[in-house]
Amino acid sequence: MSTPVVFDAATRVYPGSTTPAVDSLDLEVRAGEFLVLVGPSGCGKSTSLRMLAGLEDVTSGAIRIGERDVTHLRPKDRDIAMVFQSYALYPHLTVGENMGFALKIAGLSKAEITARVTDAAKVLDLEPYLDRKPKALSGGQRQRVAMGRAIVREPQVFLMDEPLSNLDAKLRVSTRTQIAALQRRLGITTVYVTHDQVEAMTMGDRVAVLKDGILQQVAAPLELYDKPANAFVAGFIGSPAMNLGTFRVEDGAAVIGEARVPLPRTATAALTESEVVLGFRPEALEMVAGYAPDAFAVEVLVAEELGSEAFLYGTLEGASLRDPQLVAKVAPRSVPPKGSRVHFRILPDRMHVFSPATGEALPTA
């Protein structure tokens, strides 16, 4: 039995500021779902989470957990648990006391607390450390204690604020899968904040992308990747990032250097300007030998050969992109040398077209 969470036009304006940190956020987190809030720093993702936690005032709008309106409830009355970026473990309490603290405050019996702490410790491999102070633990162990503290509460909602950002790269990858697996097993609705789009893509059932306090798109990871709603989402999701550039439109084709790249008719029909924002992912590029009308020339600056795949970084001739360099995925082990000049064309159905005025995606099919 898990609970949905609803943000209903929830807005947060910090005192002394005129622009909202979170602007009228409408978002439904489904029961039992793992939802990731992602965006660049300052986009309002942490503020949204803290509004849900009750650590941040809601200026207007409402937040509901299940049927309950929690907008003005105190944190402790919301039946939620949170994992902090810094873990926020009480330094003067042992691991076991840290995990059982909320239960103790809630007035549970000692036996009950011990039972629940031991259970959680078993799940998280923390049993040998229950009597230690947080100081004596490694970063990964502390992270698990923070998780354990949330689990023992058996709350309706888990909140996680960049819980992996203090771990080293390797540990982050393994912990990532552990958290996702644990959440699926417990089936508790979870809201997870991160700035790392790889974490977002790998962990979330659905991902919500925020920018400047405004929700850009909520969708399953692959849908975000394949059908970004606007140029920002397109550029933010995916690594290496999508190539984006603004190009002139002539006779239903975008002018990229000497190449004429035909645009889908549905897109040109929706287009009101004489320019277009074109997006194409590194793997949507095909290397062509010699001349083709829709192929543009690229001078290779750097080649990254990773063994199983390879990426070329180069400059576009006669045109420019938002990022200074174009990225293309090429077949490994036969990469063109640095300084060479190669031609690419965009695979026709892998092209993203956006309005230059609004950044919104234009229909391509």
């Binding site: 650590l55 941040e56 003005h72």
Partner: protein, 335 residues
């Protein structure tokens, strides 16, 4: 942590003003509750007397005219009160004029003494404290023992150290004079000359005040990241240059605070002058605070004159603190 509105959904906003007060209370009541005891005590025992003192400095209040009523015991055991015909009167700026022109008291002498006293004490507190802190900030054996022993003067009550030093400076049987005569210098009659007397007081206060500075600066030193020193060393800085360009700037937040506090404290440091020199010779080593105290408590107790001293001291320190802040700010310090 930001405060959280605890008003429930059923909370109806009343008339605008009452609703506002109510909201403020809901939101801030525990912060206010936490500062309330302090505010009450300070309000009653510091702010109220302070304003009273400012008022009194414009009157001629003294021991003889401080009653509003004169009461006589009647035969029935009750009291009969009539307004005091001689009660204190408003005299405008008379007290200030008298003090500043030297009509009464020796304001300018006391001011010079206070400035010399404060300047010398703070200078030696800071430089000696800094020197010892830098030494103690290294790692070597016995460091924590040195640290404990060097802080000892802090734990000695001020008047005890005053007596201890007065004892050492005693012209007849003091250790300092007997040491001097051992190396062939004539004994000094310390408390018979203005500046030797002041010197004795300054030595005492420096001895007393260095530990606080040392501990505060030591804390500041420990908060300077070690990699700054390593970076400076990689850049080829000599130890002196590292001190000059890493240590001193890194200490600035601590230094600016302790120097300001130290100046204020020393300016108003009462017991040392009072007990070590007692103003000897003939009041030539009084500072403003002891002068004010004597006005208030010795001879005819002149409360209004003491209050006038107090207001002058307060205004000088406020001006000093404001200028100090402005200078710091112009140098880009956030304070």
């Amino acid at each position: 942590m930001t405060t959280v509105i605890s008003a429930g959904p059923g909370h109806e906003p009343g008339p605008a003003r009452r609703g506002r007060v109510r909201r403020l209370l809901d939101r801030h009541w525990y912060a206010w509750a936490m500062v309330l005891p302090t505010v009450l005590v300070l309000g009653v025992l510091v702010l109220y007397p302070l304003f009273q003192g400012i008022y009194q400095s414009f009157t001629d209040l003294n021991e003889t005219n401080n009653r509003d009523l004169i009461c006589t015991q009647t035969l029935g055991g009750g009291e009969d009160c009539v307004p005091n015909p001689d009660r204190a009167q408003f005299v405008g700026l008379d007290n200030y004029v008298d003090l500043l022109t030297g009509e009464r008291g020796h304001f300018w002498l006391l001011l010079v003494n206070t400035v010399v006293w404060t300047g010398a004490c703070v200078f030696f507190h800071y430089t000696i404290g800094l020197g010892l802190a830098v030494l103690l900030n290294r790692t070597f054996r016995g460091r924590s023992l040195y640290r404990v022993l060097l802080i000892v003067p802090w734990a000695v009550p001020a008047f005890v150290s005053a007596f201890a030093w007065k004892f050492l400076f005693n012209p007849r049987f003091g250790l300092i004079n007997s040491l001097l005569s051992n190396v062939g210098i004539d004994p000094v009659d310390w408390f018979n000359h203005r500046w030797t007397s002041m010197f004795a007081a300054i030595v005492t206060n420096v001895w007393l005040g260095v530990p606080f500075m040392m501990v505060a600066i030591l804390g500041g030193l420990q908060s300077i990241p070690a990699d700054l020193y390593e970076a400076a060393e990689m850049d080829g800085a000599t130890p002196w240059q590292r001190f000059r360009h890493v240590t001193l700037p890194g200490l600035r937040p601590v230094s600016s605070t302790v120097i300001l506090l130290g100046t204020i404290w020393t300016f108003n440091m009462f017991p040392i002058i009072f007990f070590v020199t007692g103003g000897e010779p003939a009041g030539e080593t009084e500072i403003l605070v002891t002068g004010a105290f004597r006005a208030a408590f010795e001879g005819l107790r002149n409360y209004s004159l003491a209050a006038t001293y107090g207001v002058l001291i307060l205004s000088m320190l406020v001006v000093y603190a404001a200028m100090y802040r402005r200078v710091l700010r112009s140098k880009g310090e956030v304070w």
